[in-house]
Subunit: 246 residues, 2 copies
């Protein structure tokens, strides 16, 4: 809490190139983390774990996109987590995965076996504090997401998702999202639908509508350009300050 959230830049000489657990780049701690880490790669579409499976590692996303999702018996699915590079995956102290985890694109993880990681948490309270921080952030994000799912129109949902992705991608680059900048949508229409509680047809239609209304420009299917970020924000229905201050 009195611990600043370390960002990529100030962490650029850190052997773990993503901020998830890199609390303050203390060399001793890093050396220990270094010793228990390993990398794993997955292909797009590949499931990492199913809900209910044993999950004996925690990890941090190096490249690619992973998603957490829940599926009902009849096949309806709702995405409940979207992990971009530098995001943390897994739950220290919890052996069983409560959701399906899927590689939504080609994916590389930096993994830590759970037991040694937990042992290290015991010795290094700072890591525990950092994890509490991160979990609170996730909880805030989940609750923003609940507002989107419960009360927003399809158009507002799409605008909200675009805003969130733009903000998260910008945050990785240490900037705020800028009018006129363009970014790559890392999700298919179907994944967007699973994120937003819509059907893919509705997603497609609303994206087209935002394009028609010049809120966004599309280059190909995935490259999004936002002429005026304020205009997009206004479409989200959120008040001007844009949700969480972060």
């Amino acid at each position: 809490m009195n611990q600043p959230i370390v960002d990529l830049k100030s962490c650029s000489n850190c052997p773990i190139r993503h901020r998830a657990v890199c609390a303050k780049c203390d060399t001793d701690e890093l050396k220990q983390l270094e010793e228990i880490k390993y990398y794993r790669s997955y292909q797009a579409g590949q499931p990492l774990v199913w809900a209910g499976d044993q999950m004996d590692f925690v990890a941090s996303v190096v490249t690619g996109i992973a998603t957490l999702s829940q599926t009902m018996e009849d096949g309806r699915t709702q995405m409940v987590g979207l992990l971009l590079p530098s995001d943390f995956l897994g739950r220290p102290g919890r052996a069983i995965a409560p959701y399906d985890v899927t590689a939504n694109s080609d994916l590389t993880l930096c993994c830590f076996r759970r037991k040694p990681f937990e042992a290290m948490m015991e010795k290094t309270p700072r890591i525990g504090n950092r994890l509490l921080e991160m979990t609170l952030d996730e909880l805030d994000a989940a609750r923003q997401w609940m507002l989107i799912l419960g009360r927003k129109t399809a158009r507002e949902k799409i605008a909200s998702l675009l805003t969130i992705i733009a903000q998260r991608e910008a945050a990785l680059r240490q900037t705020a999202p800028k009018s006129g900048a363009s970014f790559e949508l890392p999700l298919t229409r179907e994944s967007m639908a699973d994120y937003l509680g819509l059907t893919l047809e509705t997603v497609s239609r609303q994206v087209s509508a935002l394009k028609r209304d010049h809120v966004i420009e599309l280059h190909g299917k995935r490259q999004i350009m936002v002429p005026d970020f304020e205009v997009l924000m206004a479409e989200t229905g959120d008040d001007a300050d844009g949700g969480l201050p972060v």
Copy 2:
């Protein structure tokens, strides 16, 4: 994590009669908590804090119901947290409340001023671990809730809410929800609507429908009796094991 979640019964001689932060009833820790605690009461409907306000305490619900909610400029609101007795309120390390907090009924809190509480967390890692545990639980609950909001029908939403409330009330009494038992709905139709992302009319209609179909019995507006819990569970759309194992 290697810390069992302490329940009310094993904590019955504990001066703090609710389990939120009572990690293991260590007498030293409790004495310290005891020294910084105080009680506050609120009337039904009274706001505790608004989103964006300074919030200089954390607390645990003793009696009554509190809710966390988000409101859009045009008045649409979504409940994002429902706090029953023994639930924890507030975020160590975060001075600013991100949501509106409201007393949904007459409410008594057991409060701890944030600074001393955080200081104590520093000295007692067990409390930090407990808070991480609790936050992970809240995150799981939020994600179950996202499935409800994003993908369930109105009828499934109502059944899910009734199940959740029955389970949480039963958990306070250390039992599983039982067929034939009845419980008090602690929410108005409007609050149920805010919880589920519906209108109050739809809530009313679906409750009536469940009653008509003998899934539940109503005594008055708020007393619910569930003749067969399996039948209610089947209405939620969840698979038989009922979501999270907890």
